[in-house]
Symmetry: C2
Subunit: 240 residues, 2 copies
């Protein structure tokens, strides 16, 4: 796979994937974090051609395929904070949510095997390279996975405009899955039914909904702040 853009290439070098080759323009080669790595000089047009995108910022790298995590492994920590995405289609949204999840100390992101964005180079770019450090797991069926979360002692909170419980009244200081639906249509009924509770972000304007990316950022950081206050170790602390 080719990843492109400064942050994605930099994080690939810091993460578990094998980086077999890097191409950079004369200008981009001067980035200090590229200094210790052998880099092939290339014209912007060649990097654009290899990247298949204009968003390469003068650098791209050949890396080993993205390795998805095992869903069960994400449930191991007693205070795992998970993000579960039901049919989020837009790579920009998937990438943005992965970036927020990694920054909030989430244990991972769970996506369906079908009818959803997967971890493509565009997602690596939109995540600013966060996917290199964030477990992402694919499951056949989201509702079944939520049942597994509950069996493992976790709580599943579905984000829904019409949810009864405001998010700032929720206990996030335990094993928690935050569940988000697709842009526009929200959670599917079977997924909503598999949640312990449907929670909402109170809105104070005239438009009807936040973007799924903004909603995820709000809930993830509300959870992280609450965990700091009550002294729950973040999954990143537990895993060392």
């Amino acid at each position: 796979m080719i990843v492109y853009g400064r942050n994605p290439v930099r994080e690939a070098l810091r993460g578990p994937r094998e980086v077999t080759r890097i191409w950079a323009t004369e200008h981009a080669r001067r980035e200090p974090w590229l200094a210790p790595v052998p880099v092939r000089r290339a014209a912007p047009a060649e990097i654009e051609m290899r990247s298949g995108s204009e968003g390469h910022q003068g650098v791209c790298a050949q890396v080993s395929e993205f390795r998805y995590a095992e869903p069960d492994a994400l449930l191991a920590s007693p205070s795992a904070l998970l993000v579960v995405l039901d049919q989020v289609q837009d790579p920009q949204n998937l990438g943005a949510i992965c970036r927020s999840a990694e920054c909030a100390g989430a244990a991972g992101v769970v996506i369906p095997e079908r009818r959803a964005a997967e971890v493509t180079p565009a997602v690596c770019k939109a995540s600013a390279g966060a996917v290199e450090h964030l477990p992402v797991a694919r499951v056949r069926n989201i509702a079944d996975f939520l049942i597994a979360v509950k069996r493992a002692g976790g709580w599943c909170y579905g984000a829904e405009r019409a949810g009864q419980t405001p998010y700032d009244a929720v206990n996030f200081a335990e094993k928690v899955a935050l569940v988000f639906g697709s842009e526009g249509r929200g959670l599917r009924p079977r997924v909503a039914a598999a949640c312990d509770e449907l929670i909402c972000i109170p809105l104070h304007g005239r438009i009807e909904s936040l973007s799924v990316g903004a909603a995820a950022a709000v809930l993830l950081f509300a959870a992280a702040a609450q965990r700091r206050r009550v002294g729950v170790p973040l999954p990143s602390d537990v895993q060392g």
Copy 2:
């Protein structure tokens, strides 16, 4: 100006702008909120041509120019919550931040006259039409505007990775401006110096920063939640 996409056209019809003409495909004409409005039927290719974008979702409208608000008017409410953007260049980011700001009950968004994204059709689309209900003001100089905020009794909080104060230790329940810098480079020194305090969002992963859109969502909704808890009326309540 042509606005395009379902939410942008719908919100333009509900907002203060004059909508002089609407074009929609046979399919998009069935939207219930379009029913009372005279609509010209058009092929997708015509709507794409008029919109100048593929993201039209089968509908576009000719509307009067966007009217920017007076900066001073945004400071009138004693508990105004403002977003101030220092050189945010990307229309997607400006639109996303406007959407979050409108949903959080902010009194408005302030942008510089130069070297920044302005309210274009792409911003209307990225905001899901939120800009139709949200005052957006342009100022010549961001640092000078922050001085005016302080003179009007407000507090200016600059969002900075290296900020000393975690955002969840901040009092947002008064007249407040949240100040964000450009993607990548952050606040310019003169803007940072004009803030009362630089605040941070504690991160728990390996990557170094949230996107400006996610950071804005986190701070705006932290402010809205705190205001609800302590009973500060939201600007939208004050304005009726």
